[in-house]
Symmetry: C2
Subunit: 144 residues, 2 copies
DNA sequence: TCTAGGACCTCAAGTAACTTGAGGTTCAAG
DNA sequence: CTTGAACCTCAAGTTACTTGAGGTCCTAGA
């Protein structure tokens, strides 16, 4: 099998899709363990760091917060535990994503209506008569 | 007609749905003009402040950034301008909202698949075999 | 008139998750 | 041996507020 690679921070960044400062930041906040250092003090990463950072990156892609990622990492580090914990985290997060989706869908609807109405009724005219700004001037939940 | 109300910051907050510190913050960053002050130095707001803050609040409800709100406020203050500027801002923002929607929809799909698969295949078993954590361990875009 | 407590005041720091910048060292190729 | 890219640390900036500390003001009741 291949010899264990020793990665520089730049290479690790490239291969995981993180930036170099982000990797140092994750180390600062204890999400990544401090790696070994070479003669000149430069960080030297092992294959296991690559795996861990890939995992972290992926969780972040899925929009888990850093604190949630911390919990997920703790789970992966403790492979005997029941995976219901992972499912619970995922489902909690899924609920949050769905709530945000509902919000954004409502937003999209309102904004596209405004844009359409403005294009049809007031575009080219003065701001004073703009249906968009008119809509923005009314309190939330106002049915007018 | 009704006499012009003079509002305390607390009352203004209540009527617009902003918090008191938020109102002071908006003043700090120049989004709200500094109001008159009463004898003891307390802020005293006019009807026009109420209208402006309502407008700001509404824009924020629609997820415009503070900088965008600043531009929108500038538009409302200059009613002779062409309202195409407002439509452009709204459409730019709409595009951003739609992009975010696409992202979240993809996210929702992935997460719900993971949760379903875990419930069916690994829930109750050890983390080691969890399909969720397995999925999180693979780099983005990996078709496995 | 006094007083209690609620609302107000200012200024500083904390939040999330990084990014950016300054100023300096180390490494690797030519 | 030199040069330029990559690395180092530490501090501050970003967004849009929130929270806290410590102190003042206003108003209603006794």
């Amino acid at each position: 099998m291949a010899a264990a690679r020793a990665l520089t921070i730049g290479t690790l960044a490239e291969q995981t899709g993180c930036t170099v400062p982000t990797i140092r930041y994750y180390e600062d906040i204890g999400l990544l363990p401090p790696p070994r250092r070479g003669a000149g003090g430069q960080r030297s990463y092992a294959e296991s760091d690559f795996a861990r950072l890939t995992f972290i990156r992926r969780c972040r892609d899925f929009d888990f917060s850093i604190e949630q990622v911390r919990e997920l990492v703790a789970l992966v580090e403790d492979p005997e535990r029941d995976c219901v914990a992972a499912k619970d985290l995922a489902e909690t997060h899924l609920s949050a994503v769905r709530a945000k989706l509902r919000e954004l869908r409502a937003l999209e609807k309102s904004l596209s209506q405004f844009a359409t109405a403005c294009a049809a009724q007031c575009a080219g005219g003065p701001i004073r008569d703009c249906v968009i700004l008119d809509a923005f001037s009314k309190p939330a939940g106002c049915g007018c």
